[in-house]
């Protein structure tokens, strides 16, 4: 594409479409972009290479070379570690390129893991996987800042999530909550905030925009110990928080595919609401003790955070028009506490809420001429109808008519919008 444009520059100058100065600037712009390209590619390959070599070393060590004596095996345990440290130290001292720092950081990350694993293997130290992973990631966390390494930061998030899941969801750790996970993620936040501040539109930043909320979604369940019902509330509030974060202009102004918060927040909210649109979900009762549980406090903290983001967004006038999605977590929290006394009212209201969300989304889609948003709204309503298909005593005829009408809705709305868009484009062309 760029080369095509560059090839056409002489013709554009000849026909006096652009001046020679502008042509020169265009050429320089693309040349500077090209010089950046291979470096980025080198970094990616460097990280991938280190990742594969590091994992390979772990596997080779795991073979357990029993031909060697204990001291020889111990030397092998430290060899990759020292090598990785030398490479990383050299990168820092000689102010080497990002490629060097990222690759040496990734290699050192796995070398630390392999050395601890191999020592455990040599001395038959029984495996508590959680504490092993925790030691590993804590020993590598400073590398994120010392090497300014995004690859190590990504590995940190992935392994912290693995640690939290292993400890929280595992059979052997019933009753244990991986609170340290929160601390591990908190330590990474300054790095992430720096990325958001200085490189908001970089690809690596959008990877974090997806990875961080995904990690939190996966691990939130580990904080639910005994009061499972609070889990629904916790997740709806978390998705509400993500949605409101995703609507902050620095995220919202970017392409949708870069905004993991908004997509997770929106889709997650809809899924949770669909789940709680079934009556049997609301058949629970709460005692006083449940209001003193860790689940309640986590839900409370999440609620305060989400509310703070919402109020801040309003104070900064980031929310320009009413969008029901912003407020779902507040409405659901109220319904959740109503649900303790009565299970019918929240069921009905959640169904109405999903329907309203569907309509609001369709409205936004039509206002913006965006087929994706329009069909997402229709999909919400379809999902609601499908859910009701399974648990209502409505007659087959009524259910059938419901499906037909929603199906027709799909055709009609898309058709009407396509028509409007064409008319609009024709008008523009005429002007």
């Amino acid at each position: 594409m760029n080369s095509k444009l560059l090839n056409e520059l002489p013709e554009l100058i000849k026909n006096q479409v652009i001046s020679e100065d502008i042509a020169l600037k265009i050429r320089q712009y693309y040349l500077s972009k090209q010089s950046d390209g291979p470096n980025r590619l080198f970094t990616v390959f460097g990280v991938l290479g280190s990742l594969l070599v590091g994992l390979g070393i772990i596997l080779i060590m795991a073979h357990n070379w029993d031909e060697f004596t204990r001291p020889v095996k111990t030397i092998f345990a430290f060899l990759p570690l020292v090598l990785g440290q030398l490479f990383a130290g050299y990168s820092i001292l000689k102010k080497k390129s990002t490629t060097w720092k990222e690759a040496s950081g990734t290699f050192l990350f796995f070398a630390v893991g392999s050395s601890i694993a191999l020592v455990s293997q040599i001395y038959n130290i029984p495996g508590d996987l959680s504490s092993y992973i925790l030691t590993w990631i804590v020993l590598c966390l400073p590398l994120v800042y010392l090497l300014k390494s995004n690859a190590v930061a990504i590995l940190h998030i992935v392994f912290s999530t693995f640690y939290a899941c292993n400890l929280g969801y595992g059979y052997e750790s019933i009753g244990e909550t991986p609170w340290l996970y929160l601390l591990l993620i908190a330590f990474l936040l300054p790095h992430y905030l720096q990325l958001l501040k200085h490189r908001p539109e970089a690809n690596i930043t959008s990877i974090f925009n997806w990875l961080l909320p995904l990690s939190l979604i996966i691990t939130l369940g580990v904080f639910v110990e005994q009061n499972d019902d609070f889990g629904y509330l916790m997740y709806v509030i978390l998705f509400g928080l993500f949605y409101n974060i995703g609507k902050i202009p620095s995220f919202d102004d970017q392409k949708l595919r870069r905004n993991g918060y908004l997509i997770f927040g929106s889709v997650g909210t809809v899924i949770m609401l669909l789940l709680t649109s079934f009556n049997w979900i609301w058949e629970f009762s709460m005692t006083k003790n449940e209001f003193l549980s860790q689940e309640f406090y986590i839900a409370l903290i999440l609620f305060c955070l989400a509310l703070a983001v919402l109020i801040y967004s309003y104070s900064k006038q980031w929310v320009k028009r009413f969008n029901l999605f912003h407020f779902v977590f507040i409405i659901f929290t109220l319904l959740f506490f109503v649900g303790m006394a009565d299970n019918l009212i929240p069921t009905i209201l959640v169904n109405i809420l999903i329907f309203a969300l569907g309509l609001v989304t369709i409205k936004i889609g039509t206002d913006k001429f965006h087929f994706g948003i329009l069909n997402y709204g229709l999909l919400i309503i379809t999902a609601l109808v499908v859910c009701r298909f399974f648990d209502t005593d409505l007659s087959y005829v009524i259910r059938g008519l419901l499906f037909v009408s929603v199906g027709l809705g799909f055709f009609l709305t898309n058709y009407v919008m396509l028509k409007r868009k064409k008319t609009f484009e024709n008008l523009n062309n005429k002007i």
Partner: protein, 186 residues
């Protein structure tokens, strides 16, 4: 921050990264050098660990002890004082919630209390013996074969005990290290 400061912090990190595995080694070596060796009768089975490789899981013959104290709870630490029987194998002398004042003991974990049989079931912490990936499964088969061929109780783990900690040094079948025994069978 100046690069030299970053480098100095990195040096501290390097020392920490080396210190952790080195400390693990020194702790284990101290137990092997100054601890008392005990033989625990055992039965090996063959699982694997994604990072450390294949190991044989050791199901020890000693898994429970009679006790009228029904207040023992799951996952509670338990101190097991050891003695040896006439054949030189490890036996439980007493169990307690506190560190025994004299003699060798192991800090283990209560699995559950059997109220019907009035038994405390527990697990020793040294139940994984890492082996060459090609030998781990064969070790389990060799153990089963040895059980059929010779006298019972012919497989034991040699564990060094010091101050409640144990280092699993080796596993023997008919007094031959299990890795060598597997090689011979092949």
């Amino acid at each position: 921050m100046k690069p030299i400061y970053i480098f100095l912090i990195f040096v501290l990190l390097v020392l920490a990264q080396i210190y952790i595995p080195a400390k693990m080694i020194l702790d284990q070596e101290a137990i092997i050098k100054t601890g008392t060796a005990y033989k625990f009768k055992t039965r090996p089975v063959d699982p694997s660990d994604p990072f450390k490789g294949k190991y044989i899981h050791l199901n020890y013959d000693i898994t429970s002890v009679l006790s009228n104290d029904s207040t023992w709870t799951n996952y509670e630490p338990i101190y097991i004082a050891l003695k040896t029987d006439t054949l030189g194998f490890a036996m439980v002398e007493t169990v307690s919630r506190d560190v025994p004042e004299s003699g060798d003991y192991v800090k283990a974990q209560v699995d559950w209390y059997n109220t019907y049989e009035k038994k405390i079931n527990f697990s020793f912490p040294f139940d994984e013996f890492y082996m060459n990936e090609l030998k781990a499964y064969n070790a389990e088969l060799a153990y089963l074969k040895a059980q059929q061929d010779s006298l019972p109780n012919n497989t034991y783990a040699l564990v060094y005990i010091l101050n409640g900690n144990g280092v699993l040094d080796n596993v023997f079948i008919n007094d031959i290290p299990i890795a060598k025994y597997v090689e011979k069978q092949e």
